[in-house]
C-alpha cells in the first residue's frame, strides 16, 4: 500500500493526504441513518406482489380479499397510476422512457419477468402486509419466455412488446416488430484491407451472464403525500434529483412539488439510480394520507432490480507478425432485460478504446428478454465488451509469442489518437499504466508452482462530468459547513471537502460536508459515472474561489482600501496594502472569519458547474491464479491493480475504489451468474447461490496509483470508481489459460464450467 506522498500530491497541502472521512464515526457507531432506519409517526409498511411467471398476459387482478384484511389500508395496481406518456426523461446516466419506467415499477398488461411487480399493499405492520399479498388473486395467460439473447433476436421469437421495432441511429426503424430495440455501429477505415494486411487473424465467440451489482443494502423507499398535495420521499439513492424527476411525472406532480431526501446508502454501483419502490410508496401514501415505507428483501433485489446485461459477442482481430494490430471487428448483442436500454452503446465505445487500430467496425444490439430490466453497473457494458476484446488480444500475444504488455504498449492509444466513435484523446495515462505494470514487483516475480498462471489486461472507461452544486458558508470560528447534493457511495464527502479545504488553505477537518435534500441545494447529477470527485470537486473549488473573493472584499472594507489591492493567498492569509505607518496588514482565515458578523454579515459561497472535460481512465491489472484440475477451482493468489487517477485526492479512497472494482470484476469472472430454468424462473435469487467473492476468497489487492493529471480539472482529477471492474475478467481468463492451457470464453469461469470443459464425456 502506498503511504508515501506522491510527486503530484507534494504540491498540495490537503490533497493527497488521508484524513478520516467525515461520515466515519456515524457509520461505525451505527448512528448513520439508512433508508430502512427511517421511522415516521403513523407510518405504514408496504409489500409488493410479484409475478411468478417470466412472460404472461395479466388477465385480471382481484385485490378485494387483500383490501378486506384487517390492518390493510390500501392495495394498488398499475391502474392506480396516471397514464404515463412515452416521453423520455433524463436520468443523468442515460434516459428512461416514462411509460416503460412505470411499467417496470408495476406491470400493466403483461408480466415480463419473474419477480415483475404486479400489485402493492400498505398495512399497519409488515406481517399483515405479507399476509395481504398472498390474498391477491391474479389470473395469468402464460406466454413462452425468451431467455437467451440470440434466441430473442430471431424473427420467430415470441415478442415482448407489441410495436417495438429495431431503431437505427439515423432514426429509421425496422418494418416488423422485434425484440431488438436498437442497433448502433461505429466504423473507421477499411476492414477488408485491414484483415488482408494481417499475418494472423483470430476470431472468437463469447457469452457472459447477467451479474448483479450486489450492494449489501436492499432497496427502500418511504413517501409521504402531504395534505397540501406535495410529496416527500426518502430513499437510499445515488441520485436524489433523478428520483425527483422520475417520480414527479409518474404521479403527475411538478418536480417542485416533490422533495427527495437521500438517506445514507449501503452500496449502489449504478443499481440505485432507477426508481422501483418510491412511486409505489407515493401512491400508497396518497391513498392513505400516511407515510408508507417499502423495502425489498434479497430475493426481490435479485429477481427484480437491474443487473447488468448478459451478452453474446464476437471479436475478430488481425495483427502483423511484428505485433501491429491492423483490424478489429466487434459484434455485441446485449440483453436489456424486459425493457430496452442495455449499456451496449457504452460497451461499443469502450471495446477497442485502449488501442490505436486503424480499421475498426463495432456493431451493437440492444435486445429485450424476459429477465429483469438491466440497470447501470459500474462501467456499464464495458466489462463485457472489453472481456471479449482483451481476451483476443491476449490470445494474439500468445500466438505471436509477444509479451502481452509489450503488445499493448506497441498499439496503445495516446494523445491525438481517435476511436471509431469519433472521440479523440487528450492527455491520457494509458501507456503510463502499462509501464507501471511492467515495473511492478508482481510482474517481475516468478510463479511458484504447477497449475499456476499469470494474466494481464487493460481497461478503459470514459468517465462523465455534468452538473454539480456546492454551497458553503464561513462560520465565526473559521469552520466551513459545505452543502452537497451528491450522495456518498465511495468517500466523496471527504474528497469534495478536501478540494474545498485545499482551495481555501484550511484543513479538511475544518470543512463539514453535509448531503442534503433536493430543496436545499442546486441541481446535482447522480453519484455515478465516476463523476463525483471530479464535478463535485470542481463545484467545491469554484465555491471556495467565491469565498476567497468575498473574504478579500470584506478585508478591503475593514481596512478601507480598494478591493483590487487585497489578495487572498493560497496559504489562507489575506494580505492588503501597508497602513499609514507602513505596517503590513493581513488577516488569517480564522481571524477574519471571527470578524465577519460585526463587519457586514456572513459570507456564503456558491457554485453550480456543468463540466464535461472529465478525462478518461485507464487501468492495467495483473493476476496470478492456481487452478485445481481435479475440481476446477480457481484460486486468486496475487492481484495487482494499476490505475491512472489523474490526481488522487484521498489516496485511501482511491485505493478502495480500485480494490472494490477489482473484487466485483473477479466475481463476474469466477462465479457470478443468473441461473434460469426453462420456464424463466431464476433459481439462485439469494446470496448463498448468487456467489459473490467474500474477503475470504481474495488476497489483498495491491493498488498502484498512477497520476497523469487531467488538464480539464483544477486539481487534475480523473474519475476512479468504474474502470477497475473491467480488467479482472480478461486477466483471469488469460491467467487460467497460462496455468492449464484452457481458454474459457464464457463467464463465469466457474469450477463447474472448467470441469464440463475438461472431463471426458463418460466422466
Amino acid at each position: 500500500m502506498v503511504t508515501a506522498q506522491s510527486e503530484v500530491a507534494s504540491q498540495y497541502n490537503v490533497i493527497g493526504t488521508r484524513p478520516i472521512r467525515h461520515d466515519g464515526v456515524d457509520k461505525v457507531t451505527g448512528a448513520a441513518q439508512y433508508g430502512a432506519d427511517l421511522q415516521l409517526p403513523g407510518m405504514l409498511y408496504g409489500r409488493v406482489l410479484r409475478s411468478p411467471h417470466a412472460h404472461a398476459r395479466i388477465v385480471s387482478i382481484d385485490t378485494s380479499k387483500a383490501a378486506a384484511l384487517e390492518g390493510v389500508k390500501s392495495v394498488i395496481t398499475n391502474a392506480d397510476f396516471p397514464r404515463a406518456s412515452d416521453d423520455v426523461i433524463d436520468t443523468g446516466e442515460g434516459s428512461a422512457q416514462l411509460n416503460w419506467l412505470l411499467d417496470n415499477v408495476i406491470a400493466s398488461d403483461k408480466a415480463l419477468y419473474k419477480g415483475h411487480a404486479i400489485a402493492a399493499v400498505a398495512a399497519v405492520d409488515h406481517h399483515i402486509a405479507e399476509d395481504a399479498i398472498e390474498l391477491i388473486e391474479v389470473e395469468y395467460e402464460l406466454l413462452p419466455p425468451v431467455l437467451d439473447v440470440r434466441d430473442a433476436m430471431l424473427d420467430t421469437a415470441p415478442k415482448l412488446h407489441d410495436g417495438l421495432k429495431t431503431g437505427e441511429m439515423d432514426g429509421s426503424k425496422s418494418d416488423g416488430d422485434s425484440n431488438t430495440a436498437s442497433h448502433l455501429r461505429f466504423a473507421k477505415g477499411d476492414m477488408e484491407a485491414g484483415f488482408a494486411d494481417a499475418d494472423v487473424v483470430i476470431e472468437r465467440e463469447f457469452v457472459t451472464s447477467m451479474a448483479h451489482q450486489g450492494y449489501i443494502e436492499p432497496h427502500n423507499g418511504t413517501a409521504y403525500w402531504r395534505a397540501d398535495g406535495t410529496l416527500d420521499v426518502w430513499t437510499s439513492t445515488q441520485g436524489s434529483f433523478v428520483v425527483r424527476d422520475s417520480v414527479a411525472p409518474l404521479v403527475q406532480l411538478s418536480p417542485s412539488q416533490v422533495k427527495v431526501t437521500p438517506m445514507e446508502i449501503g452500496g449502489g454501483f449504478g443499481g440505485k439510480i432507477p426508481v422501483y419502490l418510491e412511486p409505489l410508496a407515493a401512491i400508497l401514501s396518497r391513498n392513505t394520507g400516511r407515510p408508507v415505507q417499502l423495502t425489498m428483501n434479497r430475493e426481490e433485489v435479485l429477481l427484480a432490480t437491474g443487473p447488468t446485461s448478459g451478452t453474446y459477442m464476437r471479436v475478430k482481430m488481425g495483427a502483423k507478425r511484428d505485433g501491429t494490430l491492423t483490424a478489429g471487428e466487434v459484434y455485441l448483442a446485449f440483453e436489456a432485460g424486459a425493457y430496452p436500454g442495455s449499456p451496449v452503446g457504452a460497451g461499443a465505445m469502450c471495446a477497442l478504446a485502449p488501442y490505436d487500430i486503424p480499421n475498426q467496425v463495432i456493431d451493437g444490439y440492444d435486445v429485450v428478454v424476459n429477465k429483469p430490466k438491466t440497470a447501470a453497473y459500474r462501467a456499464p457494458g464495458a466489462p463485457q465488451a472489453e472481456f471479449a476484446t482483451e481476451a483476443v488480444i491476449n490470445e494474439l500475444a500468445e500466438q505471436l509469442q509477444i509479451d502481452p504488455l509489450e503488445l499493448r504498449l506497441q498499439n496503445a492509444a495516446v494523445e491525438g489518437a481517435s476511436r471509431a466513435d469519433g472521440f479523440t484523446y487528450g492527455v491520457i495515462g494509458n501507456v503510463e499504466c502499462m509501464q507501471a505494470a511492467q515495473d511492478s514487483s508482481h510482474w517481475n516475480s516468478e510463479l511458484a508452482g504447477p497449475n499456476q498462471g499469470r494474466g494481464v489486461a487493460q481497461g478503459f472507461w470514459f468517465n462523465i462530468g455534468f452538473e454539480s452544486s456546492a454551497y458553503a458558508q464561513v462560520n465565526g470560528d473559521g469552520t466551513v459547513p459545505l452543502v452537497l447534493g451528491s450522495t456518498d457511495i465511495g468517500g466523496t464527502r471527504a474528497s469534495i471537502a478536501m478540494q474545498l479545504a485545499e482551495t481555501l488553505g484550511i484543513s479538511a477537518e475544518e470543512v463539514r460536508p453535509h448531503v442534503v435534500d433536493t430543496n436545499s441545494v442546486g441541481y446535482t447529477q447522480v453519484t455515478g459515472g465516476s463523476r463525483t470527485t471530479f464535478a463535485g470537486g470542481w463545484a467545491a473549488y469554484e465555491c471556495a474561489m467565491d469565498i476567497r473573493r468575498q473574504m478579500a472584499e470584506r478585508a478591503a472594507q475593514i481596512w478601507e482600501v480598494d478591493a483590487a489591492e487585497v489578495e487572498y493567498g493560497d496559504d489562507a492569509v489575506i494580505r492588503g496594502p501597508a497602513d499609514d505607518e507602513g505596517n503590513e496588514r493581513s488577516f488569517g482565515f480564522k481571524e477574519l472569519a471571527g470578524q465577519l458578523a460585526a463587519s457586514g454579515g456572513h459570507i456564503v459561497g456558491r457554485a453550480d458547474v456543468n463540466k464535461t472535460s472529465s478525462g478518461p481512465a485507464f487501468a492495467t491489472h495483473i493476476v496470478d491464479v492456481e487452478v485445481d484440475p481435479d475440481t476446477g477451482k480457481v484460486d486468486v493468489l496475487r492481484y495487482t491493480a494499476v490505475q491512472d487517477a489523474g490526481t488522487a485526492i484521498h489516496p485511501a479512497y482511491v485505493e478502495g475504489q480500485m480494490q472494490g472494482g477489482a473484487a466485483q470484476g473477479i466475481g463476474m469472472a469466477l462465479n457470478e451468474e443468473y441461473y434460469y430454468d426453462e420456464s424463466g424462473d431464476l433459481k439462485n435469487a439469494s446470496l448463498l447461490d448468487y456467489r459473490m467473492p467474500t474477503a475470504l476468497d481474495l488476497p489483498m489487492i495491491e493498488p498502484i496509483i498512477v497520476e497523469v493529471p487531467n488538464p480539464g480539472h483544477p486539481y487534475g482529477v480523473r474519475g476512479v470508481g468504474e474502470v477497475p471492474i473491467i480488467p479482472p475478467a480478461p486477466a483471469i481468463q488469460a491467467a487460467i489459460a497460462d496455468a492449464v492451457g484452457l481458454r474459457m470464453n464464457e463467464l463465469p469461469i466457474s469450477p463447474r464450467a472448467i470441469l464440463e470443459a475438461t472431463l471426458p464425456e463418460e466422466g
Binding site: Y675, R691, P693, P751, L755
Partner: protein, 288 residues
C-alpha cells in the same frame, strides 16, 4: 415473518409433550440458523418454537474413555470445535463444525440441528456416519437410538415421529490407529453450500487397513454410507490402486442431480476426488 409462538422447555418430557401437542407447526429451536430463516421466508409453516437449550442434556459435551463422546444436540459448533477432547480425539468433527455456515453462524448452529434439517448436502452428517455416531432420540414413548446412517430418509426428512426430538449424539471411543477426515467442495473458500462432500475413517493396523468407512454427501437424496468403497480398502495396505478403487465405488454409488449448484458429471467426479482426498488425509491422521 409469521407470528410464531416461543416456549422454553425445562425438561425432555416437557419438550416432547409440547412438540406433540403443537403438531406439524411445532419445531425444535436449538440455534435456529435453519428454522428461523425458514419461518421468515415461509418455506415452512411454523407457529411454535420449542426451545430446548435450557435442557442440560442437549447442550453438554462429555467424554470418557469407556463410553466415548456425547455431544448435546443443541451444543453450538463453536463449543464443539473449541473443546480440547474433540480437537484431540475427533478432529473430523472439527472439520465439519468449522465449515457449517460461517464463523458467525457457528456461534449458534448445532450438529443436532444440522442432522435434523436433513439436507443431502449437510456438512455434519458424513462425519457422523464415518464416526459410527448413534442418534439419541426422546419422545412420548420414551427413548430410542438410531444409527446415524439410518436417520435421514429423504431430502429434508428423517425418522423422527410426532413429539420426538434428538437429545444427543454419541460416538464410540476412537480405536487405536484410526484417523478420520471430512472435506467438501464449494466454488468459493468459505460460507458456501457443498457441491459434494465426503468423509472417511480408516484404521491402520500393522500397515494394513483393518477397517474403514466412507460417506459421501450432496450426491443422493440422503448422505450415503458407501460400503463398497470401504471394502475396496480393507484387508490390505493403502495404495494408489485401492484408493482409486474406493473412489470408483463412490462414483458408482452417487446418484446426483443437475441443479444450480452442480451438474451430474461434476458431482459424480467430485465424489471420487473427495473420496481419494479424505482417504489419504484420514490415513495421515491415523499415522500421526
Amino acid at each position: 415473518m409469521q407470528a410464531v409462538k416461543y416456549v422454553r422447555a425445562a425438561s425432555v418430557d416437557e419438550a416432547s409433550r409440547l412438540l406433540q401437542e403443537g403438531g406439524e407447526g411445532a419445531r425444535v429451536l436449538a440455534g435456529g440458523t435453519d428454522v428461523i430463516v425458514q419461518a421468515r421466508e415461509r418455506t415452512r409453516e411454523i407457529d411454535l418454537f420449542v426451545d430446548i437449550k435450557q435442557i442440560a442434556e442437549t447442550m453438554s459435551i462429555a467424554y470418557d474413555a469407556a463410553d466415548g463422546l456425547s455431544i448435546g444436540a443443541a451444543a453450538p459448533c463453536h463449543e464443539i470445535y473449541g473443546n480440547e477432547t474433540v480437537r484431540e480425539l475427533y478432529p473430523s468433527l472439527v472439520d465439519s463444525t468449522s465449515l457449517i455456515g460461517g464463523t458467525a453462524i457457528q456461534g449458534r448452529a448445532s450438529l443436532g440441528g444440522n442432522l435434523c434439517n436433513s439436507s443431502p448436502a449437510a456438512d455434519g452428517i458424513p462425519t457422523l456416519i464415518v464416526l459410527e455416531a448413534t442418534v439419541e432420540i426422546a419422545g412420548p414413548n420414551g427413548r430410542r437410538s438410531v444409527a446415524v446412517e439410518d436417520f435421514c430418509t429423504a431430502p429434508g426428512r428423517n425418522v423422527l415421529e410426532s413429539g420426538e426430538f434428538v437429545v444427543s449424539l454419541k460416538f464410540p471411543t476412537p480405536a487405536a490407529g484410526s484417523g478420520a477426515r471430512f472435506l467438501r467442495f464449494i466454488p468459493r473458500n468459505e460460507m458456501d453450500i457443498a457441491v459434494t462432500n465426503a468423509a472417511t475413517q480408516v484404521r491402520i493396523e500393522n500397515g494394513s487397513v483393518s477397517w474403514a468407512r466412507v460417506s459421501i454427501g450432496a450426491v443422493a437424496p440422503i448422505p450415503l454410507l458407501v460400503a463398497d468403497a470401504a471394502a475396496a480398502l480393507v484387508g490390505q495396505p493403502l495404495s494408489d490402486e485401492t484408493i482409486a478403487a474406493a473412489a470408483a465405488a463412490s462414483r458408482a454409488a452417487a446418484s446426483p442431480i443437475d441443479d444450480m449448484r452442480g451438474s451430474i458429471r461434476q458431482r459424480r467426479h467430485l465424489a471420487g476426488v473427495l473420496t481419494e482426498r479424505t482417504i489419504r488425509q484420514a490415513a495421515e491422521r491415523a499415522a500421526a
